[in-house]
């Protein structure tokens, strides 16, 4: 029987939401790790029972958890993230050089080829990999060691590596994005990296078209078309057709081109979704209306999706990790808000309903599909 399992990370724990393929009735389980910030929970594409979770606390630091039974039970695994060699420095808010300091894991990306391999994007920005199911972690230090590394600087949310995309057709190719350094690509499995920010324009940096320094909020790829990426930047929604060599803007008629998440329909590579937010200083939807915007043309020509979403007095935010899609025949779209709601659409975004309304602020939403 088909079904979905939605993995929700919040400020105060993780929740697992399950439903059959109709996605009408939901079972809510949690909180797991009550009281802890759960930045991200994600399952292996090779073993649906293998889940990884990033558990964090301002008091007690970073923990990593692994489940081998689909989230019923969890085991703490390795939590030692040590930068390789002498960590060096990056640019700080005040313009001085500041030592790299590990703070937390923002994003977990399980391997497409090995359930025991998982990547972790961390703050201060670096990429780590475990090949033993999370017991130990090694830095892929070529990224942080890039010649531009000492010029990277944090965005308002910290200097986080938040997006990791593995190319399903080329095991050597990895895309990542950092706030506020930009997007980078490796073509040798993470050994060396190149900035892929040509075409981005950011008025909040001295040189708006600089090689690095862009506040990329999220990037997304459809597995059938790995050279096409979409990006939600601090401002602007962008597209590349050549694996990041050059980007062009596809914001068009959006009510605001600021936002955090971006995702792609499971079966329509040119159908993309964003949630416009008013601005960098007003992190809530324009006009108090929570609207998902959909483009069916690979960017531009955006339509507002509102049916079932609050259209007045709504002032929540939707964070960068908090949107995902399932792969059922009628594609499901999910997103979570800082107000604790998780909304789902089982018809590609035409109609929405809240699966759950009163969770702690939602940090991340991922979904596993069972056909």
């Amino acid at each position: 029987m088909s079904g979905v399992r939605v993995l929700v990370g919040t400020r105060k724990g993780a929740f697992v939401l399950t439903s059959d393929g109709k996605r009408e009735d939901w079972k809510i389980e949690g909180p797991h790790f009550a009281g802890w910030e759960i930045f991200h929970v994600k399952g292996s594409p090779l073993d649906s029972n293998r889940l990884y979770a990033s558990q964090s606390s301002g008091w007690f630091g970073q923990l990593m958890q692994r489940s081998d039974d689909g989230g019923k039970t969890w085991t703490p695994v390795g939590n030692e993230f040590t930068y390789e060699g002498v960590p060096g420095t990056h640019q700080f808010y005040d313009g001085t050089q500041h030592p790299w300091e590990f703070k937390r894991v923002w994003h977990l990306e399980p391997s497409l080829t090995d359930p025991d391999t998982v990547y972790a994007g961390v703050e201060d920005a670096a990429l780590f990999r475990s090949t033993d199911a999370g017991l130990t972690w090694q830095e892929l230090s070529g990224l942080r060691g890039h010649e531009t590394g000492s010029r990277w600087q944090p965005g308002a949310g910290g200097m986080c590596l938040h997006s990791i995309i593995l190319d399903p057709t080329n095991p050597n190719r990895i895309f990542i994005a950092i706030s506020a350094a930009g997007a980078f690509r490796s073509d040798d499995a993470g050994v060396t990296w190149k900035p892929i920010n040509q075409g981005l324009r950011s008025e909040y940096i001295p040189d708006p078209t600089a090689e690095i320094g862009h506040c990329v909020h999220r990037i997304a790829m459809h597995p059938s078309r790995p050279n096409v990426l979409f990006m939600q930047k601090h401002f602007d929604v962008m597209r590349t057709d050549d694996a990041g060599e050059c980007w062009h803007e596809v914001s068009d008629n959006l009510p605001s081109d600021f936002g955090f998440p971006i995702d792609i329909h499971a079966h329509e590579p040119d159908t993309i979704y964003v949630v416009p937010i008013k601005s960098d200083s007003e992190h809530f939807p324009p006009d108090g209306k929570l609207r998902v915007y959909r483009s069916r043309t690979g960017g531009n020509e955006w339509e507002a999706l509102t049916n079932g979403l609050p259209q007045s007095d709504c002032y929540v935010n939707v964070l960068r990790e908090a949107m995902c899609v399932d792969t059922l025949d009628s594609c499901g779209i999910y997103f979570g808000t800082t107000g604790g709601q998780v909304y789902a659409s089982s018809d590609s975004g035409d109609n929405w309903k809240a699966i759950v309304r009163d969770l702690p602020a939602v940090l991340s939403v991922e979904v596993q599909t069972f056909q």
Partner: protein, 98 residues
């Protein structure tokens, strides 16, 4: 035996129901207690002090006998009441937030 009281989150993490009793060699220093704690409960490594620098995490505190020993060095010898188990060694999260 040294009696150690952990904050609720760390008790849950270490799957402990109540206080912990640790057999710490002499002298009973702050560093020795933490080292023994981490050997006894490896899952707590990195939660009370940093993996590498062994520095106390900024929002963790060490109390005993009505005193704050958070800022003492690892070779600081704990009071006799703690050494004999009369008084507990308390690890707790600092008051923070609103």
């Amino acid at each position: 035996m040294i009696r150690v009281i952990l904050p609720a989150h760390l008790r849950t993490l270490a799957r402990l129901d109540g206080d912990l009793e640790l057999d710490v060699g002499t002298p009973v220093t702050l560093g020795a207690v933490l080292e023994t704690l981490e050997k006894c409960c490896p899952v707590l490594r990195g939660t009370v002090r940093d993996h590498i620098t062994l520095q106390r995490r900024p929002l963790v505190r060490f109390f005993a006998c009505g005193q704050d020993f958070s800022h003492e060095q690892p070779d600081f010898v704990l009071p006799e009441e703690v050494v004999t188990g009369v008084e507990p060694f308390i690890i707790l999260g600092a008051i923070a937030g609103g």
